[in-house]
Structure formats: C-alpha cells, structure tokens
C-alpha cells in the first residue's frame, strides 16, 4: 500500500514534464534552419520506469544508480518529417502543436489521478468527510 500509493503516476508526471520541454523546443525552433525536431519515446520511458532490461544492478551500496541526464532514461529521438523543407528544418508546427496539446491533457490526467489518491488518503486519515 505504502510503496504503491502513487503507482507510476509520479514517473508519468516527470515524463510528461520532460516531453513538454522537448516539444516546446521544437515549437520554439520552428523557424531555425537545420533544426531537427525531436520527441521522447514513451515505450522506452515506460520500460525504464518499470525497471526494464537496461537498469544497472547494484552490488554495493557505494554504487551510483544508473542516472541519465534526463533522469528517466527515456530516449530522445528525431522525428521523421512528412514533408521535406528547403532549410533542413524538420519541425512541422501543426504536428508539434497537436503533440503539445495531447501531452498537456495527459499531464492534467496524471495530476487528476494523483489528486484522487491524495484525497483518498486524506479521507482515510480523517475517518470520513
């Protein structure tokens, strides 16, 4: 109960925040020549969050845990553009905007789940009402 209280929602929130950052970089660089649009692979982040195959086994307490720069170990990958551009920029603003909106909604959903969990806990602590 204690360890599973927030399930994977905490990781999910981090993932959504990170993806928000990456997508915002894409939209910000919509007019930058040679900028390549990026996105995070959800599958790899999920695998990592669930302690996937790539995690490091610690044999001593002194060992550092595997720590990637984006903390989630999620892979940032280049997007394959649907239409070529003359300046080498692969940002498709509408695609990015759609992804950004979707990500924001997912972030809100995760927040709602967390909120529900916290409410449940408070309800239990107060003994109802």
């Amino acid at each position: 109960m204690k360890t599973n209280l927030f399930a994977n929602h905490e990781q999910a929130l981090k993932f959504r925040a990170l993806r928000n950052q990456v997508l915002s970089s894409n939209i910000a660089n919509a007019d930058t020549p040679n900028y390549k649009a990026r996105d995070i692979d959800f599958g790899s982040a999920l695998e990592k969050a669930q302690g996937g195959a790539l995690s490091i086994t610690k044999t001593s307490d002194l060992h550092q845990s595997s720590w990637n720069t984006n903390r989630l170990g999620a892979q940032v990958k280049y997007r394959v553009p649907m239409q070529p551009t003359l300046d080498g920029n692969t940002v498709e603003t509408d695609v990015e905007q759609a992804a950004f909106a979707e990500n924001a909604v997912q972030y809100r959903a995760t927040l709602a789940f967390l909120d529900g969990q916290i409410r449940t806990l408070r309800y239990a602590l107060k003994g109802g009402d």
């Binding site: 007019d31 999620a74 916290i118």
Partner: protein, 137 residues
Amino acid sequence: MSLFKVFDVAGTAMNAQSVRMNVTASNLANAGSVSGDADNVYRARHPVFASFGDTLAEQTGVSGVKLNGVIESNAPLQVHYRPDHPDADEDGNVYVSNVNTIEEMVNMMSASRSYQNNVEMINTTKDLLLQTLSLGR
C-alpha cells in the same frame, strides 16, 4: 522542476521572432528607397536563427533559439534610368533597394504566428504548473 525550462526556451524564441519582426519593419520602411550610389542603397536584411543548448547526445532534447547576426541580402538592385532625379549618377541612373515587399509581408506573418505559438506554449505550461502547485488541496 523541468517545466520551468519551457519559459526560457519560449522566451529565447520570442526574442528571436521579435528581432525578425523589427528587421522586417525596417525592410518595409526602406522598401523603394533610392540612391545614386550602388554601395549606399539600403539592402534587405535578414536575421539568421540558430538553436543552442543541449545536444541530442545529452538526451535532454531542450534547445532555445539564438540570433546568429543579421545578414544583408545580395539580391540584385534595380537600376532605374531617371536623369531628372537629384540623386542620379553621371549616367542618369538611380539604384532602388532590393527589398522584396511580398517576401517581407510573408516574413511578418510567419514571425507573428510563431510568436503567438510561443505565447500559447507559455500559457499552457503556466496552467500546468499552477495546477501542479495546487495538487492535493
């Protein structure tokens, strides 16, 4: 909190777009300006954008926009034969600036749209952050 970085990224982009807007305004204001000396004619200016920040290898995938200077267009100048013009050279020619008004209008619209996109991005992220702050209330 990584969401805060969005403000930095969008801020750099908005700065870059506003420079682009200023340059466009300057170009449009000087469209059609003439001179008798080909070296002194106003030439269209264009900002050069570049991204900076983390590389893909660093896995964060976050980069802002920086301005890599403003370049002058080397499109050919228009030469008009107007011997009555006070600025005409000894051959009676004046040189007209190479600003392409249509191109500049398109640039202006594009800059304005990109700026709006960044503002929207900031608003959405701000909402998300505020919602996160009120978690569990």
